[in-house]
């Protein structure tokens, strides 16, 4: 097992100064930094192994095809999918959701039908459903959350009815850090025979995901939020559902026979991967998953809970700071407001100290409205952050309070 300090050294970007101060990167929910192992893997692939997949009979093409398939197997194992063919590579979690909206929901929705989501969704898990619902005369229904930022399960259950054609919810909230009781929510929906999509964008870097144990029908996430390259995402879907869905985009690689009288399509995953995919991205994601697996969830959990407890304690001691999202079960995401200071001013001042945080509505405007806020400041942590970084954040926040309250 590697020590913390060694893990931190794996991330070259962290070893630099921003605005004359050592970088303190607390924006991991926006994107995670990349370990040297991922950077090297990408560089190696592009330097020595690059070729298109599935089309060539030459060595490099066959090798690239093998590497791409290995990446798919790696992802399938990582989330414990039953079969490799249930893993589809897309551009990101957002595209994965749009794919399901287009290819799964479009044919199933009729006027008056409903898609149930929650009030804590990211825009990526709201807008694609609204677009498809708008075309079909169906509607998107939000399940309420509590003031602490937890899904109200009783209301969630009571909103499911014979018109509900899909349930889609976030595994872990990007703005609040809340971990939804995903397995329980899937069970509730399945009791009524309703399929479920889980948006796992914020979950995969913090906890083990087992799609078979969760029982969900679809699960989506993005590579860049789990230390891999951007521009690549994963859609997991149950094989029996995927092979009944219409293609999302047309093009090369997804077809069986093309003629001007009509075209037949290959089964999943090729069915949904028209054109040349993000080959290097998939290979980079495999390197990232290997890296995370090698560290192990136990080490990650231990470090993250240490950081979260420390941050909760320190921020809790500043009277003007109000933590937003205090669910019992959460990842180390600390959203907060300071009465007298706008989040963008906080973020700008923190930036002058080399501290990177996110400020704003976190692509969750309906959630902000529900909480009666226009914006929050968010510090999102991961295992490479340190107790000392939390101390520096806290000290600077105290200075900011003093500056604005004087």
């Amino acid at each position: 097992m590697k020590e913390d300090t060694d893990l931190r050294k794996d991330f070259p970007i962290l070893n630099q100064e921003i605005n004359g101060k050592p970088l303190i990167y607390l924006d991991n929910a926006a994107t995670t930094q990349k370990p040297q192992a991922v950077i090297d893997r990408l560089s190696d692939f592009l330097s020595k192994e690059n070729a298109n997949i599935h089309r060539g009979v030459h060595y490099l093409s066959m090798n690239a095809t093998t590497l791409y398939d290995e990446a798919r197997t790696c992802v399938a194992n990582f989330i414990n999918a039953d079969h490799n063919d249930e893993i589809i590579f897309v551009r990101g979690a957002t595209e994965a959701i749009n794919l399901v909206a287009r290819s799964f929901c479009n044919e199933r929705l009729e006027p008056g039908d409903e898609i149930l989501i929650t009030e804590m969704e990211h825009h990526a898990n709201i807008v694609p459903w609204q677009l498809i619902a708008g075309e079909n005369g169906s509607r998107v229904v939000p399940a309420p959350i509590t003031d602490e930022g937890e899904t109200d399960l009783d209301q969630f259950e009571s909103l499911l009815n014979e018109r509900t054609k899909l349930v889609a919810f976030v595994h872990v909230s990007n703005a609040l850090g809340t971990i939804n009781p995903a397995k329980e929510m899937v069970e509730i929906a399945h009791r009524k025979g309703i399929p479920v999509l889980i948006d796992g964008a914020q979950a995969v870097a913090h906890q083990e995901v087992d799609v078979q144990d969760l029982g969900c029908d679809f699960y989506v996430f993005s590579s860049h939020k789990i230390f891999g390259p951007d521009g690549l995402g994963v859609l997991y879907g149950r094989k029996d559902l995927l092979n009944k869905m219409t293609p999302y985009q047309g093009g090369g690689d997804m077809i069986e026979i093309v003629s001007f009288d009509g075209t037949t399509f290959r089964p999943s995953p090729e069915r949904f991967e028209a054109g040349t995919p993000n080959i290097s991205g998939a290979i980079g994601l495999k390197a990232a998953i290997d890296y995370v697996t090698n560290i192990g969830w136990e080490t990650i959990h231990k470090k993250e809970s240490l950081l979260m407890n420390h941050a909760n304690k320190l921020l809790g001691e500043i009277p003007s700071i109000k933590l937003v999202g205090t669910a019992e079960n959460k990842v180390p995401v600390l959203s907060f407001t300071i009465d007298s200071v706008h989040p963008h001013d906080i973020a700008t001042i923190l930036d002058t100290k080399g501290i990177a945080v996110r400020a704003g509505h976190h692509c969750a405007q309906p959630l902000m409205k529900r909480l009666g806020l226009s914006a929050t400041t968010r510090a999102s942590l991961t295992f490479y952050n340190t107790v000392d970084e939390i101390n520096q954040l806290t000290e600077t926040l105290k200075e900011i309070c003093a500056l604005f309250e004087s």
Binding site: G20, S340, V341, H342, P343, H344, D345, T348, I349, D351, T352, G360, H361, S374, A375, E399, L403, F404, S406
Partner: protein, 149 residues
């Protein structure tokens, strides 16, 4: 916190805390809203301009310290000015905050707006400082809404 003095100066903090002319001016002759969809800053500029001269102005802002201070300072500079004079002030302010060339600060010309010149170093925040001025421009044109886009 000396290194913060560049942007968050006392002038800005004071205007943020107690904006001048910060309450809606109703009735008014001209009114326009400013909205920055990226950060959610929202403000309304109200004018009483029976002829070529702005007799009274107000700017009500919901947003960050930069947008509040900019709107507040703007009202103090505009009061009693003619449309021509205001047009010149708007151009000077745009040059100060967003011009390609590094501006030479002239305290007589720029007044307290000079305190906002530090925003040039924060590209993500420039629009916070210009929002009120865009809304003023729209109000003068008789438009009802301005955005930073």
């Amino acid at each position: 916190m000396e290194d913060l003095s560049d942007l968050y100066q006392e002038i800005i903090l004071a205007h943020n805390k107690r904006p001048r002319n910060g309450e809606p001016l109703i009735p008014c002759t001209h009114q326009a809203e400013g909205f920055n969809p990226l950060c959610g800053d929202k403000l309304t500029v109200y004018l009483r301009k029976p002829d070529e001269q702005v007799n009274e102005i107000a700017c009500k802002t919901e947003g960050c310290a930069i947008s509040r201070a900019s709107g507040s300072i703007m009202t103090t500079m505009i009061q009693g000015k003619t449309v021509n004079e205001i047009g010149k002030l708007i151009e000077e302010t745009k040059a100060l905050l967003t011009g390609d060339e590094e501006p030479e600060i002239d305290l007589v010309q720029h007044g307290e707006m000079a305190a906002l010149v530090g925003v040039r170093k924060f590209p993500a925040r420039v629009k916070c400082a210009t929002l009120a001025w865009h809304a003023l421009e729209s109000a003068l044109k008789g438009a009802m809404e301005a955005t930073t886009e």
